[in-house]
């Protein structure tokens, strides 16, 4: 029926990047050509392959076809196709584990292709830590369905009842009779399943088969090594940043030097001496230079004389004045406050009322590798090679932006630097596609360091006011939370009306997005509560480098910092142990269907036990003899939170150098419960790094600006965590405790972001414990800490 289909070499190589090198070679060899299928009379690797051509059109792979998801090869191996991406958290490995268990095939005999818009079913790419939590389900169900179909075929071929069949490593036998067995390859290798699936959307995809119970999973729960690591450490991987095509040219953007500036003119003669200059492209306030060679494009971008008119009014206050500005601004929107009980009356009767204000600055993604993409406009189509975590969205957005039919655009997913949310990988994909069409040649766009640090999307700055009321017993009876986020015109993913190039060209969405301001996730039993949130705007909302977008657990670190710091302040006010206060408030809360209460109690207890927490109020007694003389003060702090169904309790131990103000987090303990664990080691790594990423935000990160431009432009002006800041010890306790210790039949919950949330608070609480000084505004760089210590005469 369908002939073997040849893909462009670059696409196939990109698709096979993460397959391990040996099998990749065999794979290519056995196919006899650069074909993503195996054997001479074989079928395309999926229905998508059959339809997808080098020249398009590129339809959407049909998620309701089993062949879209799984191919069994004649050598009794399988390839899985999923519409996800892996930013380095090992989700690709986890997907394989999930699918292997349902299909009953050895992990080593499988490979996985991810995130190619014309090859893999649209699962939206990545985001929200829902890779395993949401998108793992259809993968498991389709793999289970493939196994069911194979068993039926085997029953017929072996002439045995279904109930008598056993499956092991892609081989089906009648009982344990090895003379009566047949492999998956013998049944269907190199052929199509031709089995229709059902489901109203991709997340609901299923066949007739049910997935296995947790107890029957074998590959799930094992620390299988990540398949993407060897090619990443031996230098054999081709990353998105490495893609090169014949006839390709290099582009660099020239950004307005002042936020909100307007282009008046370009002196093209200023770069006439640059060899291999292809073109200066400008449209509205978007300017780029294109050269045959990369180093010349960089030189041209530096050398080009551009006349910019400054904006009529200051685009934003200076970063030093930001919080005052935010507190005084009229909100663009305010939520209806969440209320419980009668907080006003409770504050009236409170024995003691404690108040505190907190603030968190803008913090950036600032990937280690600045944004990059390559776009190929050959044959009236557009192929974009990108590490964008939402490749499908990039495809749709670019098609709209360029006014091209969707089926002429495809995105080939390749590995790249961190993608913890809405990054400039979105913006650069559009730029590459636009320039490729302008030039009619493949164009590679690479952002420079200053561009990445200054112009990448930011997590919103926040200010907070908290009040708490204690009764005579030291119990928390009332809470009032009021937060403001500078998040107006928050950017969504791959939106053709708000990506940076669209903004600079003067394209606008109909209305700016209202933005988010979050209330904390509170399980604590506090009878009287009021939670209010507001969004405020800075003067300039378009073409501004202070663009906000999702950054790892978009509001969690800010909100949890303020809230869990304040809980600590209440504990100190009540002179009770901060762990005990949290346990008391959790114990008094009602249970829910995710067992959050029981699991929260278990996580807080597990963290305290692993740390060796000795119960006492904070801060430690100052000016005991030994402490008075010691230049280093030590303390510990806890913070607890949950994110959807994932529960996390984190304890930080700090050393504060009272001479310099330096804070070193010496030890981190994290008790983490995300339900079913697919890959414990992969989980540990992700949790560790999520914590250290937040530690960087606690100690170092702040986007700074004057009233004209962002002044954080490199690693000197925008410091980040370094080797010397690394804790001496990090312990991750995988709890999975109540209600079913050890191997809960809980579903898996996300693990990419939860551990990131509580760290800033845990550090601030530990510094308080050590010094008696409360830090209410990160980052806790040494100058700020020293000033606070000196002000308190510590």
């Amino acid at each position: 029926m369908s002939a073997t289909f040849e893909f462009p070499k670059a696409v196939v190589e990109a698709a096979l990047q993460t397959v391990n090198p040996t099998s990749r070679r065999d794979f290519l060899k056995s196919s006899g050509a650069l074909v993503l299928s195996v054997g001479v009379n074989s079928f395309p690797a999926s229905k998508a392959f059959a339809q997808a051509g080098g020249t398009g059109p590129y339809p959407d792979p049909d998620f309701r076809q089993l062949d879209t998801w799984i191919v069994i090869h004649p050598d009794n191996t399988a390839t899985f196709f999923v519409g996800k991406t892996d930013g380095g958290q090992g989700t690709g490995t986890a997907f394989r584990q999930l699918m292997c268990d349902e299909l009953d095939i050895a992990y080593a005999d499988t490979r996985l292709v991810m995130g190619h818009t014309d090859i893999t079913p649209d699962q939206g790419g990545s985001g929200g830590s829902d890779a395993i939590e949401r998108d793992g389900w259809p993968m498991r169900r389709v793999a289970a369905e493939a196994r069911r179909v194979l068993l039926e075929l085997a029953a017929e071929r072996l002439d045995a009842p279904l109930a008598a069949l056993e499956v092991r490593d892609a081989t089906i036998s009648v009982g344990s009779d090895s003379t009566r067995s047949i492999t998956y390859a013998q049944l269907i290798g190199g052929q199509r399943f031709d089995v229709a699936l059902t489901g109203s959307d991709v997340n609901a995809t299923r066949g007739l088969a049910d997935i296995k119970p947790v107890d029957a999973l074998r590959v799930v729960g094992q620390s299988v090594q990540r398949y993407d690591i060897p090619p990443k450490v031996d230098g054999s991987l081709t990353w998105a940043v490495d893609m090169r095509l014949p006839g390709m040219v290099h582009a660099r953007n020239v950004r307005p030097p002042l936020a909100g500036a307007t282009l008046r003119g370009i002196d093209a003669a200023s770069i006439a001496d640059i060899p291999g200059l292809v073109k200066v492209v400008s449209r509205g306030n978007y300017v780029a230079v294109v050269c045959e060679r990369e180093e010349h494009a960089m030189r041209a971008a530096r050398q080009l004389q551009v006349d910019w008119a400054p904006p009529p009014q200051a685009p934003f206050p200076a970063s030093a004045a930001l919080f005052d500005y935010m507190r005084g601004a009229t909100p663009t929107s305010s939520s209806e406050p969440i209320r419980r009980g009668n907080p006003e009356a409770a504050f009236e009767t409170a024995h003691r009322v404690i108040e505190a204000e907190y603030a968190v600055p803008f913090q950036g993604h600032t990937a280690i590798g600045p944004a990059h993409a390559l776009a190929d406009p050959s044959e009236g189509q557009m192929t974009i090679y990108s590490n964008d975590m939402k490749t499908y969205g990039l495809r749709n957005g670019v098609a709209k932006f360029l006014d091209m039919p969707r089926e002429r655009v495809r995105v080939v997913y390749m590995d790249g630097p961190q993608v913890y949310g809405r990054t400039a990988a979105d913006d650069v994909g559009f730029e590459a596609a636009f320039l490729a069409r302008e030039l009619g040649r493949p164009v590679r766009v690479q952002w420079m360091r200053d561009e990445e640090t200054a112009w990448d999307t930011k997590g919103p700055a926040y200010t907070f006011k908290l009040r708490g009321g204690l009764d005579t017993e030291g119990r928390v009876i009332a809470l009032d939370y009021d937060a403001r986020a500078a998040d107006y015109n928050h950017l969504w993913y791959n939106d053709p009306d708000t990506v940076l190039i669209a903004q600079l060209m003067g394209r606008r969405s109909a209305a700016p997005f209202a933005g988010f301001a979050s209330a904390p996730a509170v399980l604590y039993a506090v009878p009287h509560q009021r939670m209010a949130t507001h969004v405020v705007r800075l003067p300039l909302i378009w073409e501004t480098p202070l663009r906000t977008g999702n950054l790892r657990d978009p509001n969690g670190p800010q909100v949890t910092f303020a809230f869990e710091s304040f809980i600590d302040e209440l504990a100190a006010g009540a002179q009770v142990d901060p762990v005990q206060l949290r346990l008391d408030m959790l114990a008094a809360s009602p249970e829910d269907d995710r067992f959050l209460r029981a699991r929260s109690l278990a996580a807080v207890r597990a963290a305290a036990a692993a740390y060796g927490w000795d119960p006492r109020p904070s801060p430690q007694l100052r000016n005991t003899k030994s402490r008075a003389a010691d230049p280093i003060l030590t303390g510990r702090g806890i913070a607890y939170t949950y994110r959807i169904g994932t529960v996390v309790a984190t304890i930080a131990e700090v050393e504060v150098d009272r001479r310099t103000g330096r804070v070193w987090v010496k030890r981190l303990v994290c008790a983490h419960d995300c339900g079913l664990v697919v890959n414990p080691e992969g989980l540990r790594n992700t949790v560790e790094c999520g914590m250290l990423h937040a530690l960087s935000r606690a100690l170092w990160e702040e986007v700074q600006f004057d009233t004209e431009k962002v002044t954080s432009v490199d690693w000197l002006t925008h410091p980040s965590l370094r080797h010397s800041d690394t804790p001496a010890s990090i312990e991750v306790v995988i709890v999975n405790g109540d209600p079913n210790p050890g191997r809960p039949d809980l579903p898996p919950y996300g693990a990419g972001e939860a551990s990131h949330k509580p760290v800033i608070a845990a550090v601030a609480n530990a510094v308080y414990d050590a010094t008696g000084v409360r830090l209410r505004r990160p980052p806790f760089r040494k100058e700020r800490v020293l000033a606070a210590l000196q002000a308190a005469a510590v």
């Binding site: 690591i229 990443k232 991987l237 940043v241 060679r293 360091r449 990423h693 001496a728």
Partner: protein, 161 residues
């Protein structure tokens, strides 16, 4: 443009480039290497690190024409089909997240251990200070380096017995 001769990973290459071109771009665009990567272009992050006669240099800022020694890149660390012990330790300790910075981590670690095969924890921190990671894999990077040191010591002790 002028013809440059570079010795990289044991082979000799010629490239016809502007001599001021930073080495990074010649390695990547003319010689097709993929280990060293662009991160900052300012000698601040280490992702572009290569070894020149064993010393770690930031190829993003050094003009290609100034290099006269033997260049080793990440691709050239493996010897006779065997991964460098650091590369192996990186796999054993499952170090990377995205992995983009790990050329810099591994090449800096190689130079560090070549200088000082038995570094203390403090010396590891100090020696690796310039290699940034935005996924924050530092803890595992340090664990992998310590593993290599430990295994080398164990081998030395075994052969001394």
């Amino acid at each position: 443009m002028s013809l440059l001769t570079l010795r990289v990973n044991g082979a000799t290459h010629e490239a016809d480039v502007d001599p001021a071109t930073p080495l990074l771009y010649v390695l990547r665009n003319d010689l097709g290497l993929r280990g060293p990567r662009f991160g900052c272009g300012l000698a601040q992050c280490g992702t572009c690190t290569v070894l020149v006669d064993g010393a770690a240099i930031r190829s993003c800022v050094v003009p290609a024409a100034q290099i006269s020694g033997e260049i080793t890149t990440l691709e050239g660390l493996a010897k006779n089909g065997e991964l460098d012990p650091l590369q192996q330790a990186w796999i054993d300790e499952q170090v990377p997240q995205c992995g983009y910075c790990h050329n810099g981590q591994i090449m800096n670690a190689r130079a560090l251990l070549d200088r000082n095969p038995n570094p203390t924890d403090a010396e590891i921190r100090q020696g690796m200070e310039g290699a940034l990671c935005r996924c924050m894999t530092y803890y595992r990077v340090q664990a992998a380096i310590k593993r290599v040191v430990r295994e080398a010591q164990a081998r030395a002790e075994a052969s001394a017995e």
